[in-house]
Each structure stands twice: as C-alpha cells, then as structure tokens.
Amino acid sequence: MHTEPSQASHAAMQELEDIELQLLLEGVFRRYGFDFREYAPASLRRRVRRRVHAEGLTTFAGLLDKLLHDPACMERLLLDLSINVTSMFRDPTFYLAFREKVVPQLRTYPFTRIWVAGCSTGEEVYSLAIVLHEEEVYERTRIYATDINESVLERARAGVFPLDKMREYTQNYIKAGGMEAFSEYYVAAYDGAQFHRSLVENVVFAQHNLVSDRSFNEFNVVVCRNVMIYFDKTLQNRVHGLFYESLAHLGVLALGHKESIRFSPYEERYEVLDSSEKVYRKVA
C-alpha cells in the first residue's frame, strides 16, 4: 500500500529545497553578478521552478550546475526573473490621477525628467508618453526608462506590441482619459502594432539594476509600479532610499495600487497626493 511520507520527511524535503535555492542564488551572484538573494522567495521559487522544468531538469541543484557552465542558460533564467508582465494603461485610474494631479505641477517646470524604473518591455513608457503628449508637456520632458535586462529593453525600444491586445489597451486608454482615437498611435504590421517613433523621441532606454546600481540623475517624477512587489522588505527599503535620493524637492513617486511607502523608513518624507493610486510627493 502507498504510504504518505511522515511529517518529518516533509520538513526535511522542504529544507533541502531551500538550501538548493539559496546555493543557486549565491552561484548566480558569484558567477554572473546578478543578485536575486533579496527577492521575495515565493515568486522567485515559482519562476526558478519553471526554468528547472523548461530545461528538462528536476532540481534547483541540477539547474545550478547548468547555469554555472552555460551562460545561455543564465540568459534564459534572467529573462524569467526580470520580465514583469504588464500592459498599456494597466490601472487606467492611475493615468487619470496622473493627468489631474501630477501634470499641473509639471506644467510649471521648464523641463521635466521622469524615471520609469523597471520598465520591462515598455508598455508603461509608451502609455506615459501618450498621456504627456496629449497634455502638451511631452516636448519638454525626458523619460529615462531603465531595466536590469538588456533584451527586454530591446523590445521596449522596438515599440511593437501584440495586435490582439489592442482591444484591451483601447478600452484602458479610454478609461485613462484618452483624448484621441487610440489607433492613431500605431500602425498594424503583421500581427504587431508598431507604435509611432515620435512617442520615444524623448525617451532614453538604459540598463540599470535597482539592486546594485546607484542613482544616476535628479528626477521630478519616479514611476515604479509593480516592480518592488518582487523584492523582500530589506531590499524594498533600500530601493526606497535610492528613489528618495533621486527625487528633486517636491518630486513625485508613483507606486502600484497594492504597494505603499507606509512602514518604510521614508514614510515621513512624503505627502500623499492620491492615496488609492499610491502617488506621493517628496516634501522633506
């Protein structure tokens, strides 16, 4: 008869897997310099497990062996760990709030620098560019769009998104206060929608690692939505420090709907511009 393993062996199994995962992250860091050791474990474990299966392997230790000896395998893991799935005008109410509460402030500046941190494949960058264009402030704005991964930046630069997403994106765009016909912003080519190059005229795409790189400019706005949810609390606090340092006085910080600066060491340094949209302004 089949017998279930005992409680003790369950615990041992778990412990072994934890050890393997820690060794893998340590190995990746020491061999390639990418530091995922302070990522939130649950999502990380899920993504690494998917890579284990995709490589036809069974254990984290097996994957570590392959990673150490095969840089191409590391490239694939890096993609798994750094692609943050997003969509154009995800959370349309955020863009509405941006139009109403942030843009008026930007109008008072001769020039505005915006940092989109962890821009992944760029959907958010193009959305923001469209909003700034419609609000007639794009001409005097520069957007710095950064990501840890050079190959997702390539895709962001290309500005081609799946055609079958355009229905959803159009609906989002309208809810986000869109003023034109959304289809004005792209041309259909094969199964992709190629967004107009003019939208990225004032965008600089560059590699930047939030975990290990320093601040590189002073910004009026930092947008970092649904990126830090993949980090653990310690790393989150460090990145909050990076953003705080990078923001000019009265600079705006925009986080995802379910993120917050509450309980971070920088809570007192910001005022709330929009509590449900998680938009803050640096005041101290």
Binding site: Q7, A11, Q14, A40, A42, S43, R46, R47, K258, S260
Partner: protein, 192 residues
C-alpha cells in the same frame, strides 16, 4: 498545529465562501486566506465588506507584504497573484494561470512551500480547473485537502478536477465544511 487555511473558489464562490467562513467558529485560530476569481474591474472593497457583515473576524484586502496574523481573513486583490511567504504575503503580476489572476494554484502552491503540513486547503465551486494542482501540492507537503462535494456545488468542474488531482481528506457538502475545519483545529488540538 495548523497555521493557515486556504480557500479557493470561482463561479458561485461568493455565497459559498460566505457560508464556509460564517460556519467557522471564532475559536478556530489559523489565518484564513481566500482566492476568489474576480473581474479585473470589480470594486475593490466590495467582497470584503460583504464578508465582513457576515462573519465575526477582521476581513482585509491584502497589500504587498501584509503580515499574516492569526484569525484574520485575507482576500486576494483582483488582477494580482497572491503568494504566501513565511509570516507575510507577497503579490505578483505574472501571467494569468488557468486564465486566472489571482490563481488558486499559485496561492496554494506557495502556501504549501511556506507552511508545509500546517496548511488546510479548501476547494469550492467553480467552472474551471484552477486549484487542483495547488491542492495536490498542499497534500504532497503533508497538509489537509478538503473539497466541496461536486453534487451540491453551483459549478462542479473545479471540485471534480481537485478530486481527480489528489487524495482528498474530505469531500463534504458546503454546510459541513466549517464544522470539519473546527474539528481539525479545535477538537483534535484538545485531545492531542
């Protein structure tokens, strides 16, 4: 001892979840986490308010890194996956799993990873197969698997898939699930 009760439901889940939660006496100590498939645009607090009226426990919509406290009920926010870490929750916006975000599989598998045999998993009514793999993962780590009897379920696809995926500890009509959980968490604890 059990530390976490995970409940997953889809089609017809709202009233089923309300019933199960109302039936779990306040003496039951573990935190309770709920993943109910919801529309992306569904009004944020609506589910929480609805449940809060019916049950005598704090009901909270989870934000990133919300700490897990005993007795509280936590709801997965729409359009995010909810994952369990040891002592807190994290969120992700990874691809939909089984067309769903929140995915019950993602919640259950992460709960099994974090809390092992201290997890009780409950699959209720639903018209898809989400949750079956997750419940199997909970069982595989030594936790408890409870499934709503497909016969009385508003939609039976989800309970059917769960039954096929694992050896359930109990397949029960909706109105017996709260009582069974009470037995696991309170009566067994007393005699142990």
């Amino acid at each position: 001892m059990y530390e976490l009760i995970c409940i997953g439901a889809s089609w017809g889940g709202l009233s089923a979840i309300g019933r199960v939660l109302a039936d779990i006496p306040t003496a039951v100590d573990p935190a309770i986490v709920v993943a109910q498939h919801r529309h992306v645009d569904s009004h944020e607090g609506a589910l929480g308010e609805l449940l809060g009226l019916r049950i005598d426990r704090p009901v909270r919509d989870v934000e990133d890194k919300t700490p897990i406290a005993r007795r509280n009920v936590y709801l997965a926010p729409p359009d995010y996956h909810l994952l369990v870490e040891r002592g807190w929750f994290s969120l992700s916006v990874d691809e939909r799993v089984q067309y769903a975000r929140p995915s019950i599989d993602v919640l259950f598998e992460s709960a099994a990873d974090a809390y092992g045999s201290a997890v009780i998993g409950v699959i209720l009514t639903g018209a898809n197969e989400d949750g079956a793999a997750g419940l199997a993962a909970i069982k595989h780590r030594g936790g408890v698997a409870i499934i709503q009897d497909p016969i009385g379920a508003e939609r039976r696809a989800m309970p059917d898939a769960a039954i096929a995926a694992t050896v359930a500890d109990a397949v029960l009509p909706l109105d017996a699930i709260g009582r069974f959980i009470y037995g696991l968490c309170v009566e067994v604890a007393k005699t142990a």
